[in-house]
C-alpha cells in the first residue's frame, strides 16, 4: 500500500514537473514595438530599416576647420554671420526604408565630445534646410531654433572681427565696439540662455521619413566672446571699422584653425517620426483654410472638419484637425477681413498681410489662437533692461495717450502667460526685459510709440526712438533693442 502511494505520488509530481517545465519553456514572447539587440536572434523589426548617410566629398574625419574670423552667436542684424562659417554637408537617404529613421550628429575633438561651451571658442550647430519655414541659411536656422525654444529674440548687433598682419603689425577689422559694457553684458546674458537651447537642439535627432532624402548641415564658427582676449580688443577701440555689408577680407588675414575633429553620425529607427499630432484653431469666429506641405507642395486640407476646404470656427469655441504627421509644415489662411492671428506666438510666422500664418506641427498639440480685434505687440529684446514706452493713437485729429490711466493692458515675460497690468500714467507702458506687452486696438488705428528708456531703441528699418504705424489688415509687432 505504502509502495502504491509512493508510486502514485511520484507519478503526480512528475506530471506536475513536466507541466511546469513545458509551461515556462513554451511561454509566448512579449517585446517592444521596435527592439534590437546585438544578437540578431532577438531582433524584432517594425518595417524594413534602411538608411544611409554620407559626408560630402572632401569632408574628412579627422577634420580641420579653418575660419576667417570670429562672429557672435545668432546675431539677427548681422548679415555676415553666414560668411564666417565652415560647413559640412551630410546627405541622408531613406528612399528604400519602410520606417522613419533619424540621425544624430556627434562632434569630437580627440576623445572629447564637443558640447556648445568652451573648446577654445569652437561652436557647432546642425540644421536642415526647410523652405516652407524659410530656413535657407544657417542664420535662419538658428533664429528659428531660438524662437522655437522661446528664447529671447536674437540680439541685433554686428560683431564680426578678424585680425590681420600688416607690415609686421597686428590690425583688426571689427564692427564691434568692445568698450560698450552694456552691450557686452547683454550678450553674456543672452548667450547663457541661448547656449542651452543650442545644446538641446544639437542633441535631438533629425527625422527622415521613409522614402525621403534630406541634406543636413553641420556648421562651425569661432565665437567672439570666447576669443576676444586673444584679439586684445578689450584694451582699446578697434583700428578699423567694417562699414560694408559684404565681406572682403584682406589676403593676409590670420585664420583660426581647429584640428583633430571627428564627425560621427549615427542612424537609428525613429518611431517618433511616424507620430501624429493635432492642430487646434480657437478664439474668434472665423473661416480658415488649412494647407499642409506634402511632397514639396502645399495641398489644401479637405477632410473633416474642413467642409469644402474651409474650416469654420465659432466664437469662443475651437476646431481640431487630428492625425497630422509630426514635423509637417502647415499654413492657415484667414478668409475675409477678420479676425486676426495672435501675433504674440513666436513659434509661428505671420506674413506681412497678417492673413496667412505658417508653422510646423510639433509633438505637443499645436494651438492657433484667433483674436476678434487686432493687437499691437511690443517685444523687448533687451535681456537686462525693462523698457518704458509712451503710446498714443490718432483720434479725432489729434494724438491721444492710450490706454488711459487705470485701464489694463497685457504683459508677460518670455513666452509665459499673459497677465493684466494697470496703466499708471495714461499711455505709459512698461515692457519687461526679455518680455512683451500686448495692447488691443481697433482696425485702421494709427499709433505712435516713443521710447523713454535711454539705453533702448525701436528696431524699425534702422534704429529709432519714435515710430508711427497703423493697424491695417492684421495685428502689428514692434521690437525694442539695446541702443549700441
Amino acid at each position: 500500500m505504502q509502495k502504491k502511494s509512493k508510486t502514485i505520488l511520484t507519478a503526480v509530481v512528475t506530471a506536475l514537473f513536466m507541466l511546469s517545465l513545458g509551461y515556462f519553456a513554451l511561454l509566448a514572447p512579449t517585446t517592444a514595438w521596435y527592439y534590437q539587440r546585438e544578437d540578431e536572434s532577438y531582433t524584432f523589426d517594425f518595417g524594413n530599416f534602411s538608411m544611409t548617410e554620407s559626408l560630402e566629398e572632401g569632408a574628412q574625419s579627422p577634420a580641420n576647420v579653418t575660419l576667417r574670423g570670429t562672429t557672435r552667436f545668432a546675431d539677427a542684424g548681422e548679415t555676415l554671420f553666414n560668411e564666417m562659417l565652415y560647413t559640412v554637408k551630410v546627405a541622408v537617404d531613406n528612399e528604400n526604408g519602410e520606417m522613419a529613421g533619424s540621425i544624430n550628429v556627434h562632434v569630437k575633438r580627440g576623445d572629447t565630445e564637443l558640447s556648445v561651451e568652451g573648446h577654445d571658442g569652437l561652436k557647432w550647430f546642425v540644421y536642415s534646410p526647410d523652405a516652407a519655414n524659410h530656413i535657407n541659411t544657417p542664420k535662419d536656422a538658428i533664429n528659428a531654433m531660438l524662437r522655437r525654444k522661446n528664447s529671447s529674440w536674437p540680439l541685433n548687433y554686428n560683431t564680426l572681427t578678424y585680425k590681420t598682419t600688416n607690415n609686421g603689425e597686428t590690425e583688426w577689422y571689427t564692427d564691434y565696439d568692445p568698450l560698450n559694457g552694456e552691450a557686452e553684458a547683454a550678450y553674456e546674458a543672452y548667450n547663457t540662455k541661448a547656449l542651452s537651447a543650442l545644446q538641446e537642439y544639437n542633441e535631438r535627432g533629425f527625422s527622415v521619413l521613409a522614402g525621403e532624402t534630406k541634406d543636413v548641415y553641420i556648421v562651425f564658427w569661432a565665437e567672439y566672446g570666447d576669443l576676444k582676449s586673444d584679439f586684445g580688443v578689450n584694451a582699446s577701440a578697434a583700428d578699423r571699422t567694417i562699414t560694408e555689408r559684404t565681406f572682403a577680407a584682406p589676403s593676409n588675414t590670420t585664420p583660426i584653425t581647429y584640428s583633430g575633429l571627428t564627425i560621427e553620425i549615427t542612424a537609428k529607427p525613429d518611431t517618433g517620426g511616424t507620430q501624429t499630432s493635432s492642430l487646434t484653431i480657437s478664439g474668434a469666429a472665423a473661416s480658415v483654410e488649412l494647407y499642409l506641405l506634402d511632397d514639396g507642395k502645399w495641398k489644401k486640407y479637405t477632410e473633416s472638419p474642413a467642409s469644402d476646404g474651409t474650416i469654420s470656427v465659432s466664437s469662443g469655441s475651437s476646431v481640431t484637425v487630428s492625425d497630422i504627421l509630426v514635423g509637417t509644415p502647415y499654413k492657415l489662411k484667414l478668409v475675409g477681413a477678420t479676425p486676426y492671428f495672435d501675433n504674440s506666438n513666436t513659434s509661428v510666422r505671420i506674413d506681412e498681410t497678417g492673413r496667412e500664418l505658417t508653422g510646423t506641427i510639433s509633438n505637443a498639440a499645436t494651438t492657433v489662437t484667433l483674436l476678434s480685434t487686432p493687437t499691437l505687440v511690443i517685444f523687448n529684446e533687451s535681456a537686462s533692461s525693462a523698457a518704458s514706452v509712451e503710446l498714443s493713437t490718432w483720434t479725432s485729429g489729434a494724438w491721444a495717450a492710450y490706454p488711459s490711466s487705470g485701464v489694463t493692458y497685457e504683459s508677460r515675460t518670455g513666452a509665459g502667460a499673459w497677465s493684466n497690468v494697470t496703466a499708471g500714467n495714461a499711455g505709459e507702458l512698461s515692457v519687461p526685459a526679455g518680455g512683451s506687452v500686448r495692447v488691443t486696438l481697433t482696425a485702421d488705428t494709427q499709433y505712435k510709440l516713443k521710447i523713454k528708456t535711454a539705453s533702448l531703441l525701436f528696431d524699425d528699418s534702422g534704429r529709432a526712438t519714435q515710430i508711427i504705424g497703423k493697424i491695417a489688415d492684421g495685428s502689428d509687432t514692434v521690437s525694442i533693442i539695446p541702443n549700441p
Binding site: 509551461y23 511561454l27 514572447p29 517585446t31 517592444a32 524584432f44
Partner: protein, 174 residues
C-alpha cells in the same frame, strides 16, 4: 565502528530524504501554481526586451487577465497584439480615447509613444502580476544550440540509465 558507520549511513539517508522532500514540495507548488494560472484564464508572456525597465525586465514573466476596455485606466500596464509585426507587446497606457475606443501606450524606458494606438480588439489583457527571472527558460530555448545540447544530454542520461540498469539486472543473476 559498525555502529558509527550505520549512524553515518542513517544521517546521509535522512539528508537525502529531506532534500528529496524539499524538491518534491517545490515541484508540487510550482505545478499547482501553473494549474491555478491556467484555470484562472490568465495568459503568461516572457519579457524579451527592456522597454519597460525598471518595472519589467528582460527575463521576467508577466501574467495578464482579460479586462473590459472600460475598466482600463491611464497607468495600467497591458499586453496587446500588434499585427504589424505579428507579435505581442506589454506597455503602459498613457492615454485613453473613449470615443475611438483605443489606447495609447508607451514603454517606461522608451523615448517616445508607441507608433500606433491599440484598439479594443487587439487588447489581450491587463497586467495581473509578474515573476522575475521565470522567463529565462523560454528565452534560453530560443537558442537552438542550447536545445541540441540539452537534447543530446538527455539521450546520454537515458542511455546510461538503461545500460546501468541492465548491468544491475545481470549482476543479480536474472
Amino acid at each position: 565502528m559498525d555502529g558509527l558507520k550505520h549512524l553515518g549511513g542513517e544521517m546521509s539517508f535522512s539528508v537525502r530524504r529531506v532534500l528529496r522532500n524539499i524538491v518534491l514540495i517545490a515541484v508540487a507548488l510550482i505545478g499547482v501554481f501553473v494549474l491555478f494560472v491556467l484555470v484562472s484564464g490568465a495568459k503568461g508572456f516572457s519579457v524579451q526586451s527592456d522597454s519597460m525597465t525598471p518595472r519589467l525586465r528582460r527575463g521576467d514573466v508577466v501574467f495578464v487577465r482579460r479586462v473590459s476596455f472600460d475598466d482600463l485606466a491611464v497607468g495600467d500596464i497591458v499586453s496587446a497584439y500588434f499585427p504589424q509585426n505579428d507579435g505581442v507587446f506589454t506597455h503602459r497606457i498613457i492615454s485613453i480615447d473613449e470615443a475611438e475606443r483605443v489606447i495609447h501606450t508607451r514603454g517606461d524606458h522608451t523615448l517616445s509613444e508607441d507608433p500606433a494606438p491599440t484598439d479594443e480588439a487587439h487588447l489581450i489583457g491587463k497586467l495581473w502580476f509578474s515573476l522575475p527571472y521565470a522567463g529565462y527558460l523560454s528565452i534560453a530555448l530560443q537558442n537552438r544550440v542550447l536545445i541540441y545540447i540539452c537534447f543530446g544530454a538527455a539521450i546520454v542520461v537515458i542511455l546510461a540509465r538503461i545500460v546501468l540498469s541492465d548491468r544491475k539486472t545481470k549482476s543479480r543473476g536474472v
